[in-house]
């Protein structure tokens, strides 16, 4: 009887519940069909919609693992989409693969720079992460608008469209990118010492430094990773809609990403994280969105349901809540301090 104590039990239970709901309310929910060699179906749809959120969530998980938070990811998404669309629009031939690759590379490089900036503020100057990234969150969207001149830039470029709307081996390219990034991050944190080091920094930066861990460098690194992940998500978003919209791109995604991380059982205080949990959290959020649509609840109520799910999940995961309300004798200390 220990399976319900697993940190993924609650999110997984809600996820299954949502899928079961969908069986009753939407036709052929689980059917996956093949058209022109591409897979179609509600589940594929959910995966496609979740791809940017998974990317942003993976970066966010690593940041939160060190005890930080990154509010600027949505703005970084907007900047990356804006720059790549601007550069592709300036190409003499928007259809050239090398031109698009160049534009994508420049956009990601800028995102890397933004990550370096965030990491510098947090790790070198020592500003609280929430404040340090608030700066870029506010200014970043202005920057994106500056790049696009306040307009919505439309691009028609077949190679660029592949990133967000293309298919490779019958699977959506965006989903492949998200899964590859998640797997690489998972391997790096589980098969190397990186995950342990990050948890150590999140647990206590001072103690880690005294133990000989490069706390500052690691903290810096996670912000760079988060920004690059957000940059890729921004490319997927803008490629999918074939335009750069500085206001809509990544709007409020930082909150969804933090939500996905929290649903996945990662504590916001740092020191303990779960990448698989974040991926599940991101998929759960998108499934919730799709379910609300398919059940026929008006779209306006989406936020309401999100609020209910957040409250239920967070209370379910809160040791204090379980102790007070459920009167279950959970060893609160053990669950909270379980730093690998």
């Amino acid at each position: 009887m220990t399976f319900y104590k697993h940190h993924l039990f609650w999110p997984f239970a809600v996820f299954v519940l949502l899928l079961v709901l969908n069986i009753f309310f939407s036709n052929n929910f689980f059917s996956i069909t093949v058209h022109d060699g591409h897979l179609y179906g509600s589940l594929i749809d959910i995966a496609r919609r979740a791809a940017p959120l998974i990317l942003v969530g993976v970066g966010m998980t690593l940041v939160i693992a060190t005890g930080g938070i990154d509010l600027s990811v949505g703005s970084v998404m907007a900047v990356s989409g804006a720059l790549s669309c601007l550069l592709i629009g300036d190409l003499s031939d928007p259809g050239s693969v090398t031109g698009v690759l160049g534009a994508v590379a420049v956009a990601l490089l800028l995102c890397l720079g933004l990550g370096v900036w965030n990491g510098f503020l947090v790790s070198v100057i020592g500003i609280q992460p929430i404040v340090a990234t608030l700066i870029l969150m506010v200014a970043g969207r202005g920057l994106a608008q500056l790049i696009t001149g306040g307009q919505i830039l439309n691009v028609t470029s077949a190679p660029y469209r592949v990133i967000g709307a293309g298919y490779f081996l019958a699977l959506p390219v965006s989903v492949i990118i998200a899964v590859v990034v998640a797997i690489v991050a998972g391997l790096l944190t589980r098969r190397t010492a990186l995950g342990l080091l990050l948890q150590s920094v999140g647990g206590s930066p001072a103690a880690s430094r005294l133990a000989g861990i490069q706390a500052r460098g690691l903290t810096w690194l996670v912000y760079v990773i988060a920004a690059v992940c957000a940059g890729v998500a921004g490319l997927i978003y803008s490629s999918n809609v074939s335009s750069a919209d500085s206001n809509a791109a990544g709007n409020l995604i930082e909150l969804d990403a933090i939500l996905a991380v929290v649903i996945g059982g990662t504590a916001l205080t740092g020191g303990r994280f779960s990448l698989s949990g974040t991926v599940l959290g991101a998929v759960l959020i998108e499934t919730l969105n799709v379910t609300i649509l398919s059940v026929g609840i008006p779209v306006e109520a989406t936020l309401l349901f999100k609020a209910v799910v957040v409250v239920v999940l967070c209370l379910g995961q809160s040791p204090a809540f379980r102790e007070r309300v459920l009167r279950r004798r959970t060893p609160a200390v053990a669950t909270k301090e379980a730093v690998a």
Partner: protein, 344 residues
């Protein structure tokens, strides 16, 4: 930069402060507020020199008229941030307040019922979030995020369209102008905002509750060991923030005479930015309400300058606010030494 910023403060504060008291210098806690005041004067000076008509007294008063609701919201946010928390729900509460208010008024409810009801709803939501944060140890960030979803979701559910307000009381209060001289006036919302600021300043500076707010922000565990009513105070600050957000929503509905579920998107960030620019430490425990007022004025002045400039587009506002935020945070860092690191 040879010292590691993440290391705990090795030197006791007393040994730093002792010998330095030889010549006069402002109290370290006052430096951020003085810096904001200086910046405000400097920006105003730039405006007066560069733009014709900028020195008109009404330009300054208009900043108050346009920013009255933000001022009220920022006051509530100051309480929350002083305890080391954060409230992301304020913008959504404004949307809920205006939408619900407009709907009820449209349905013929008297203003005397609607107004207290709106304030009650905001306060209740705040108290509920505070209780969840305190008793169930849910992060303020997540709990108020849920509150944000809830409030904005309710607003959308009530009505997703913009609803005009034509209630007699509402319109007359909204159009009420307090005139000092020919062409020099403020709106009634400004009076409300100033009263809120005054009451809040008194509460923070001279009451037991105010001292408890600072104590929790300094160190919640110590405050608890000292026997301070941590639970009551922490829940109360979120209640105050909810009340201020609802009142801000009422002022917002005076300002626009409409209710709309998409009103005040991202306002929580403006409020947080104002608080930070005003020199309140986001880690909690340090700062003044006066700083928050200055922060709101700085944001308003940026907007005014960009309007006067004419050629600058609105997105420059965001970039300038970002740069200012950066400048002030670095200043805080320099002024407060290592205290800002790794708290909360």
């Amino acid at each position: 930069m040879t010292t590691d910023t993440t290391a705990p403060d090795q030197t006791p504060a007393s040994t730093i402060e002792g010998p330095k008291r030889q010549r006069w210098q402002p109290d370290r806690q006052h430096v951020p507020v003085i810096a904001t005041l200086t910046l405000l004067a400097f920006m105003y000076g730039i405006g007066v020199v560069n733009y014709e008509g900028f020195d008109d007294i009404q330009v300054v008063l208009n900043i108050f008229v346009d920013g009255a609701f933000l001022l009220v919201v920022a006051v509530g946010m100051t309480f929350v941030i002083l305890t080391g928390g954060i409230d992301l729900s304020v913008g959504a509460v404004i949307a809920l307040t205006t939408t619900l208010g407009a709907t009820l008024l449209h349905a013929g409810w008297p203003a005397g019922v609607v107004l207290p009801l709106l304030l009650l709803i905001g306060t209740t939501l705040g108290l509920a979030m505070g209780a969840v944060i305190h008793y169930f140890k849910v992060e303020p960030f997540i709990a108020t995020l849920a509150g944000m979803f809830l409030a904005r979701g309710l607003a959308l559910l009530i009505n997703r369209n913009s609803i005009p307000i034509d209630n007699g009381f509402w319109v007359s209060v909204a159009q009420q102008r307090i005139r000092f001289d020919k062409g020099v006036f403020i709106s009634s919302s400004v009076i409300v905002a100033l009263v809120v600021v005054l009451v809040a300043a008194i509460v923070l500076a001279w009451t037991r509750f105010g001292r408890c707010v600072y104590a929790i922000g300094g160190n919640a565990d110590s405050a608890l060991l000292m026997g301070l009513p941590v639970a009551r105070t922490r829940i109360a600050v979120y209640g105050i923030s909810g009340f201020c957000a609802a009142l801000g929503g009422v002022l917002y509905s005076f300002y626009t005479l409409s209710g709309y579920s998409l009103h005040a998107q991202g306002l929580e960030l403006d409020a947080i930015a104002a608080v930070v620019i005003g020199g309140v430490l986001l880690a909690g425990g340090s700062g003044y309400l006066f700083g928050t007022v200055l922060g709101v004025l700085v944001l308003g002045l940026i907007q005014t300058i960009i309007t006067f400039q004419g050629t600058l587009s609105s997105w420059w506002t965001r970039i300038v606010v970002g740069v200012l935020l950066f400048a002030f945070i670095v200043l805080q860092r320099v002024v407060t030494g290592k205290r800002a690191v790794r708290q909360g």
